[in-house]
Structures are given as structure tokens and as C-alpha cells.
């Protein structure tokens, strides 16, 4: 590890409650946005420009969405587990959407569409990246705040507006979008193709456009901050893996989200001003549409050009959080730091050239498909390296089972289970059998949904003390983990079996098919497990909100005895993070159990004869 130290252009000195920044020449500059001492309720909690507060805003909004998205899935699981059984309470709550206490197909498709959209974008992208990029980037690289606190604030408020629009769409007379989270045209382009293809789809598109702005503003800021505001000594090769992961995630987002925006804009044109980007030869409801010469598959190329990197945008931050939590709690350096960074980079690069593996059976040219098979299976190699390195990190450790650690271990287990099924799906010939069956549902819920949630939980349990200066209740954390771990496997593992039998995803009912109707008992079991897991999340929520106000107070600023910089800030971390000078970094973040010291913070100068890396 001998990269040159990149000096930050600004080397701010924090001088108590003044509003000054100092550049490397020692001159003092006024920076209006550092007037933290004049904080009132609105600037502190609502239009805050403090990255820590923005992180909490993202987290709590994300938790709200997770609750909504999870609730939606429990409702549609009721239909799958107990088809044709009336639950009068459903009619009481949802009225015309559940006539006679049975969920209607229109409602079902609305639920699954919004469930997917909410969880992929609003929870696992905004909630996850938004929270931890904001919280950790300045704290772990030793910066006072983000490069542009103002853009950062805007990023949250765009997300908030996107949330309002999405939420509002539920209350439209025809309901929210019901065309699937992937929103393939013509279904999503032609108003009369589906009830949710009308106003619901308009709201969906506007919501997504706002969301994309939010994520671009955030991403730009994260990248600039990491590149420019690292404190003295914090070379790229001394950054914690969390920062590497968040940086690469932001780059992925910046390069791929604009393509989704493009796809969405073309779709808006097709819907509103009669263009035919995606439409050709459509005869619907007894009449032909005038649109001519478009190509429905074009949308899928554009969508998945984002969509595949998107799944890595979801999982890379979790990789980073888990690496950090594993090393800290195993009291061991992360194994193969350099390989971990290289594999992150490799995954990110390959992520851009595998998108068509979602399109093997669209009539794609078989030769083109074969190139995507090769590239897709290639991505399994860096993924495998990461798994082996995590396992090697645990080996010969001295493992403390904090709740965060449990979730980190659970993450590795889930990622293995879900990653391996990707190898089946990536092989186009096998994908003929498996595409659009429950096998795919099992794959991506385990590898993305559950894994990313576990990464997020690990992050929340681990950094809760930093965020709120209090501790969460461990026992509840343990119960939360074990119920979720067992329950999540019970929900998603058996879905592989259904997929192998050919059971298609996105079916409201299997009654019409004798090929698919033999899994009634299993579906009931899965629904019960889903309710159990949802219940366990309520325990988490209670624990979280209770602990914010009444959790045990932190007595030590470094509760996990960790090496990274965020734990050198005071328990009550003010705007600006460090009361005095910014810390100077001398070593990499993973000096655990080295030469008899259980941990050596990054700010500890090297001893004689010691090298800065490892």
C-alpha cells in the first residue's frame, strides 16, 4: 500500500462555534452554511444540511417505505396462500379493491408492482445508499460534511417529492401502476391495456423521474466528497471498504440512472404525444392504434442497462457495510483488502455489460445472447472471491456476536444461496426453463432483497450509537435476527421448487392450470412465514424508535472498539464532526489484533519499523 497521499484541497480547521473554514494556506474563509449555532427546528430537523441529519432522514423515510412495501407483500401473500378465502377485514379496509373480502386481480397486480418499485428503489437504493453514504462518507474519510451540503439536502427533498408522488398514486380512482416494476411497454404505454396503465402509470413515471434526480444529486456529491475531501493521510488505499463500496455505487448510479431517465422520457412521449418509440402494430379493445414502427424490445434494453447495474447499486453498499462489520466484530483484518477492492471494481465494470441476460427469451439474436452468457457467468468469479474472503475473515477470529455481526454472517449465507442460483439463470439454455418462474423470484429475493436488507440491518445496529448516542437493545436484536434469518429462508427457499415445476411468477391464482395448482399447501406455508418475518420487523421498529429516546446512553465514544475515524468524534457529534482539527490518518482501517493490540485506530501513528498498510 504505497499510494501517494492525496492532499485534500481544503484542510479545514474547526474552531468551536465559529463559521470559518481554513484552506491549506491557513487563510480563513467565511462559509455561510456553517452557521450551525443558529439552528432552529426547521434548519436542524427539516431543511438540514448536516450530512448526519440527512442520513437519518433517508433512513427513516426508507423505514417508512419498507413498512409500506412489506405490508403490500403480506396482503398479496394472503391471496396466494389462501386463494378464494374471504377475509372481511380486507373489504373494510380496502373497499372496492377487495370485494367480499377477496383481493381483486387489479389490486393484486397493483400491489406487486408497487411492492417491487418501493423496495428496489425507495428502500434498497435511497434508504440504503442514502443513509450510509451520507452518514459514513464524511465521517470515515475525515471531512466536515459533504462537498455540497446544499445539493445533498436537495437530494433528500427530491426523494421526498418522489415519495409523495408514489404514495399519492395509491389513491387515484384507478389505483397505482399495475404493470410490474419493470414497466414493459406496450402494457405500460397504452392506457387501455390495464387499469393501472392510466394515471397510475403517469404518477409512477413522474415519481421515478424525481427519484432519479435525487439519486444523481446524491451520487455526484458522494463522488466529489470522496475524491476531494479526504483528510490528511487518508489515501485511497487507506479507505475503509465501506467508502470504496459507496464510491463505486455512486459511479454506477451516475452512469446508469440517466439511461433509465431516457427510457422513461421516451415512454412518456409514447403515452402522451403519440410518438412510437416502443409501439408498433397494436390492436387493442377492438381497434388498431396508429402507432407504427417502434420496438417494444428497445425499452427492455434501456431498462436493463440501468436495471442490472441497479441490482449492484443495491448490493455494493451492503458489501461495504458487511465487510466493515465482519472485520470489527471478528477482531481481524478483512481478508484480502486489495482483492476486495479489485473485485468490487470488476463487478461494477462487468455489471454494465450483462444486461441482456434478462432478455434471453425475447427473441434476442442467439449469438448476441451467447456473449451475454459468457459475461454474466464471468461476474460470478469476483462474487466468489468476495465470499471466500469474508469466510476467511471469520476464520481464526475472536468473534463478538453483536446483532450487527449476526446480520453480517446472515448476509454472507444469503448471498451464497442467491448468488449460486444466478449461475443457473445466466446460462441461456437453462434460462429457457427458468425465466419468469418462481426460480427467478427466489434468486433475486435471496441475493438482493434479503441480502441487502441484512446489510442494512448490520449497518443500522452497528452505527446506531453513532447516529443517536444511545444503544439498541441486544436481546431484541438477537430475536429479530434469528426469526428473520429462519423465516426468510422459509419464504424464499421453497420458491426454487415451484420454479423448477415451471410455476410462473406474477400469477394472481393458479386455479386455471393443472400444471401449477399442486403447491397450495406450500403457498400457505410461505404466507405464514412471510407474516412471521413481517412481525419480527415490527420488533426491530419498536427497538429502533424506543432506543432513539430511551435507549441506554453511550458512555464510550467507540463502543465496538473500531479503528475507523467516525468513532473518534464525540458521542454528541455536532455539525462539523470534529470539535478541533480534523484527524490525521496514519494506517489502514483493519489493524485488528496486530502485535498484541486488539485494535489500533487509524489515527494512531505508526510505530517504529511498522508500515502503513499491513
Amino acid at each position: 500500500m504505497s499510494d501517494p497521499v492525496i492532499n485534500p484541497p481544503l484542510n479545514p480547521v474547526y474552531t468551536g462555534d465559529t463559521t470559518h473554514r481554513q484552506d491549506s494556506t491557513g487563510e480563513i474563509h467565511d462559509h455561510g452554511h456553517h452557521e450551525h449555532h443558529k439552528d432552529n427546528f426547521i434548519t436542524k430537523y427539516i431543511f438540514s444540511q448536516d450530512h448526519k441529519m440527512i442520513a437519518k432522514q433517508f433512513l427513516i423515510t426508507g423505514m417508512f417505505w419498507a413498512l409500506v412495501g412489506g405490508m403490500l407483500s403480506v396482503i398479496f401473500r394472503v391471496q396466494l396462500g389462501f386463494p378464494n378465502q374471504a377475509f372481511p377485514i380486507l373489504e373494510t379496509i380496502f373497499g372496492k379493491w377487495a370485494p367480499g373480502g377477496i383481493i381483486s386481480p387489479d389490486f393484486y397486480y397493483m400491489l406487486i408492482t408497487m411492492h417491487g418499485t418501493i423496495l428496489v428503489f425507495f428502500v434498497l437504493t435511497a434508504g440504503l445508499s442514502g443513509t450510509f453514504a451520507n452518514l459514513l462518507i464524511p465521517l470515515q474519510i475525515g471531512a466536515r460534511d459533504m462537498a455540497s451540503p446544499f445539493l445533498n439536502m436537495l437530494s433528500y427533498w427530491f426523494f421526498f417529492m418522489a415519495s409523495v408522488v408514489m404514495l399519492a398514486s395509491f389513491f387515484l380512482p384507478q389505483g397505482a401502476s399495475d404493470v410490474g416494476w419493470t414497466a414493459y411497454p406496450p402494457l405500460s404505454a397504452v392506457h387501455e391495456a390495464s387499469p393501472g396503465s392510466g394515471a397510475g402509470m403517469d404518477f409512477w413515471l413522474i415519481g421515478m423521474a424525481l427519484f432519479i434526480f435525487s439519486s444523481l444529486l446524491g451520487g455526484l456529491n458522494y463522488i466529489t466528497t470522496v475524491l476531494n475531501l479526504r483528510t490528511k493521510g487518508m489515501s485511497m488505499s487507506k479507505m475503509p471498504l465501506t467508502i470504496w463500496a459507496l464510491l463505486i455505487t455512486a459511479v454506477l448510479g451516475l452512469l446508469s440512472f440517466p439511461v433509465l431517465l431516457g427510457a422513461a422520457i421516451l415512454l412518456i412521449f409514447d403515452r402522451t404525444i403519440g410518438t412510437s418509440f416502443y409501439l408498433d402494430n397494436i390492436f387493442i379493445n377492438g381497434h388498431a392504434l396508429p402507432n407504427d414502427g417502434g420496438n417494444a424490445i428497445l425499452y427492455q434494453h434501456l431498462f436493463w442497462f440501468l436495471g442490472h447495474p441497479e441490482v449492484y447499486i443495491v448490493i455494493l453498499p451492503a458489501f461495504g457495510l458487511v465487510s466493515e462489520v465482519l472485520a470489527t466484530n471478528a477482531r481481524k483484518p478483512i481478508f484480502g483488502y486489495r482483492a476486495m477492492i479489485l473485485s468490487l471494481l470488476a463487478i461494477a465494470i462487468i455489471a454494465f455489460v450483462v444486461w441482456a441476460h434478462h432478455m434471453f427469451v425475447t427473441g434476442l439474436n442467439p449469438f448476441v445472447a451467447s456473449v451475454f452468457v459468457f459475461l454474466t457467468l464471468l461476474v460470478a468469479v469476483p462474487s466468489a472471491i468476495k465470499v471466500f474472503n469474508w469466510i476467511a475473515t471469520v476464520w481464526q477470529g475472536n468473534i463478538k456476536f453483536a446483532p450487527a455481526m449476526l446480520f453480517a454472517i446472515g448476509f454472507v449465507s444469503m448471498f451464497i444461496s442467491g448468488g449460486l442460483t444466478g449461475i443457473f439463470l445466466g446460462n441461456s439454455a437453462l434460462d429457457i426453463e427458468l425465466h419468469d418462474t418462481y426460480f427467478v423470484v427466489a434468486h433475486f429475493h435471496i441475493v438482493m432483497g434479503i441480502s441487502a436488507f441484512f446489510g442494512m440491518f448490520a449497518g443500522v445496529y452497528h452505527w446506531f450509537p453513532k447516529m443517536y448516542g444511545r444503544l439498541m437493545n441486544n436481546t431484541l436484536g438477537y430475536i429479530h435476527f434469528w426469526v428473520t434469518m429462519v423465516g426468510a429462508y422459509m419464504i424464499f427457499w421453497p420458491m426454487h421448487y415451484m420454479g423448477l415445476a415451471g410455476v410462473p411468477r406474477r400469477y394472481y391464482s393458479f386455479d386455471a392450470f393443472q400444471s401449477f395448482n399442486m403447491f397450495g399447501g406450500l403457498n400457505e406455508f410461505i404466507t405464514m412465514a412471510a407474516m412471521l418475518v413481517f412481525f419480527a420487523q415490527l420488533l426491530f421498529l419498536i427497538n429502533f424508535f424506543y432506543s432513539i429516546f430511551y435507549g441506554r446512553k453511550l458512555t464510550n465514544e467507540n463502543p465496538w472498539q473500531s479503528n475507523t475515524l467516525e468513532w473518534t468524534t464525540p458521542i454528541k457529534t455536532g455539525h462539523g464532526n470534529w470539535p478541533g482539527d480534523l484527524p490525521t490518518v496514519y494506517r489502514w482501517p483493519y489493524d485488528y489484533s496486530k502485535n498484541g493490540d486488539e485494535y489500533i485506530p487509524q489515527t494512531t501513528p505508526l510505530r517504529e519499523g511498522e508500515t502503513g498498510g499491513h
Binding site: 402494430n281 397494436i282 417494444a296 427469451v361 463478538k400 392450470f513
Partner: protein
């Protein structure tokens, strides 16, 4: 209604009880000393890791055995067998990787739990080891890619010369089938000709189309290759036939294809499965609207003689559904309009 409310109340109460208990453990921990409590919870959680591993693996093998009869779908086509054998090879490799890594993970978690006098090993890297666990997966994956692509090109390659042809068109929410009549050739069809009566827009000016028939059920000859010409007329659908390992999108404006060779007749399959009502089913595998889940078609696989008998009873679509009806007039009108439009176009390009 009241029961639902009671159930919800009970759940909330239950959550509160758990919460109270958990809070109590915190106070007990303070009384007993944090370190002692920490050690104990490390011990409990590390044991649960092993319990989870063992119970999980047991549940896995048990559930596979239990669901085997449902999950293994007899493949009834030639390429279906190839796919099944590929599946098994992939399962072998990934299965070994799965078992080894999960065991390592949970075993280590238990084995290296925190104790008073354990010291973690400072072991930041080992290049040789990392090289091996790059090379081995790379080799396994190369093998899988080679097998996979070899089969993929066979499956997607050109259909055999003697294939039957069937056209299948998806619409919300059913399938329309068209067979070439006695001449063995499908007539042209054209989007502009689509009406309620002429669902797939057959061009009746094309003499080859006059004997085409449109049955409600698909019939296939056993051991005879068949090419599906796949179309859609409103949104994207997908022709999925699980027993044949067939899946191909139906996209408006584009004709896709899939050919295969059915190997087991419906009769044989009824005997094999012991289900006297067994039927091959076509499912729509691409979300196409709120009626997606009911978009079913059925298939009969039979011997050549039975098939010939069936085709001889089928009436041509033109003769039975169009000839002499208002539909025919409508068709003539559209056809005239198209001709005029084309003539006008030809004129403008001449000048």
C-alpha cells in the same frame, strides 16, 4: 371482522411482551456485569449458528425429498432432456460450493466465538490462496459456459426441414392458433387486416391462406419437429410450455420463433403420471395485464395417424368464418384502401 381485530390486538400484545422481556434482560445484564452477559450471549449465538446449519441442511434435504414428485417435471421434448442434464451438472457444481461454503461459514462462526483468552490471528492476506479461489471458480464456470452455449446454439439453430409449422398469437387474454391447411403453407397475414372477426389479420387474397384453419387446441405429432411462429397483437406475452421446456416472448410488431420435438404423447403421459386428465398446458409467462394468470392454452400430442384424422376434420377458417359474412366485405374494403394507398405511394415516388 371482530376476529381480525382481536388477532391484530393479540399480535401487538405479543410484541409488547417480547419487548418487555428484552428490556428486562438489559437490566439483568447491568446487575450481573456486562462482560459476563456478553460472553454468555456470544456462547448462545455461536451455538445457534451450528444449530441453524445442521437444522437448515436437514430441512433442505428433507424438503427436496418431499417435493421431488412435484418439482421434477418430466421433460417431454428432445431439447428438454439436454436442459435437464445441464441443470444436473450445474446443480452438482453449485451444490458442492453451497454445502462447503455454508458449512465453513457457520462452523467458523461457532468455532471462533469470542472467549476470554482467545486471540484473533492477524492474517490480512494470502495471495496464493486467493489465486486458487479465483482460478477454480473460473474453470468451473468456463465448463458450464461451454456446455451451455453448445446446447443453446443447437436449440436456437434453424429448424429441421420436415418441421410442421404452427402460428400462435397472443392477445389479452388468450391464444389464437393458426395451422397451414392441406397445402402445408401458412398464408400471409398483415396487421392492417386485423378485425374482431379476423383476429390475426389473415390476407385472404393470398391463395395459400384460404385453407388455413384456426383450432382452439394445439395438436402436435409425437417425434416430429414443430416450429412455432410466435406473434402478439396488443402487448407482450410469452409462450411458456413447461413440459417441453419452451419459452419465447410474443412481441407486437415482431415475429419470434421456437422449434422443438415433442417426445411423449398425451396418452403416454397420462399413463406415466397416473393422471387420467393430464393435459399439456401453455401458460403466458410475461405479465400482460390483469388477466395474465388465466391465459391458458392446451396441447394434444398424438401419433401421425391421429393427427391426420384431426386435421381432416378441421374446417378452413375462411370457409367457416369469413366467406359470405359481413367480415368478408370488411376485408375487401380494407384491402381496397391498402391498394389505393400503395398506388398513391408508388405514384409519388415515380414523380
Amino acid at each position: 371482522m371482530t376476529t381480525s381485530v382481536l388477532v391484530i390486538l393479540a399480535i401487538v400484545m405479543f410484541a409488547l411482551v417480547i419487548f418487555q422481556l428484552a428490556k428486562t434482560t438489559e437490566f439483568v445484564a447491568i446487575l450481573r456485569g456486562e462482560d459476563k452477559t456478553r460472553l454468555e450471549s456470544d456462547r448462545i449465538n455461536s451455538r445457534l449458528m451450528v444449530v441453524f446449519l445442521v437444522a437448515g441442511m436437514a430441512a433442505l434435504f428433507w424438503s427436496v425429498a418431499y417435493f421431488k414428485k412435484h418439482m421434477i417435471l418430466e421433460s417431454a421434448s428432445v431439447h428438454g432432456e439436454w436442459i435437464d442434464s445441464m441443470f444436473n451438472v450445474t446443480l452438482l457444481f453449485t451444490g458442492v460450493a453451497f454445502v462447503l461454503t455454508q458449512i465453513a461459514l457457520f462452523y467458523f462462526a461457532w468455532r471462533y466465538k469470542h472467549t476470554k483468552d482467545r486471540k484473533a490471528l492477524y492474517y490480512p492476506e494470502n495471495n496464493k490462496l486467493e489465486m486458487w479461489w479465483t482460478i477454480i471458480p473460473a474453470m468451473v464456470l468456463t465448463t458450464l459456459v461451454v456446455i451451455g452455449l453448445y446446447r443453446w446454439f443447437q436449440i436456437t439453430g434453424p429448424e429441421p426441414k420436415d418441421s410442421n409449422v404452427v402460428e400462435i398469437t397472443g392477445k389479452q387474454f388468450s391464444w389464437m392458433l393458426r395451422y397451414p391447411g392441406k397445402d402445408g403453407k401458412l398464408g400471409e397475414n398483415r396487421f392492417e387486416y386485423i378485425t374482431e372477426g379476423n383476429g390475426v389479420g389473415i390476407d385472404f387474397n393470398d391463395p395459400r391462406s384460404r385453407d388455413d384453419f384456426m383450432p382452439s387446441e394445439m395438436h402436435l405429432v409425437v417425434n416430429r419437429p414443430v416450429l412455432l411462429r410466435i406473434k402478439a397483437r396488443d402487448v407482450i406475452h410469452d409462450v411458456g410450455i413447461p413440459h417441453f421446456r419452451v419459452k419465447m416472448d410474443a412481441v407486437p410488431g415482431i415475429t419470434t420463433r421456437f422449434w422443438f420435438i415433442p417426445t411423449i404423447t398425451t396418452e403416454e403421459m397420462r399413463k406415466k403420471t397416473g393422471n387420467p386428465d393430464f393435459t399439456y398446458e401453455i401458460a403466458c409467462d410475461q405479465l400482460c395485464g390483469t388477466g395474465h394468470f388465466g391465459m391458458k392454452g392446451t396441447i394434444v400430442v398424438e401419433s401421425q395417424e391421429e393427427y391426420d384424422k384431426w386435421t381432416s376434420t378441421q374446417k378452413s377458417f375462411y370457409e367457416s368464418g369469413i366467406q359470405g359474412t359481413a367480415e368478408e366485405k370488411k376485408f375487401a374494403e380494407i384491402s381496397m384502401q391498402l391498394k389505393n394507398a400503395e398506388a398513391a405511394k408508388a405514384n409519388t415516388t415515380h414523380e
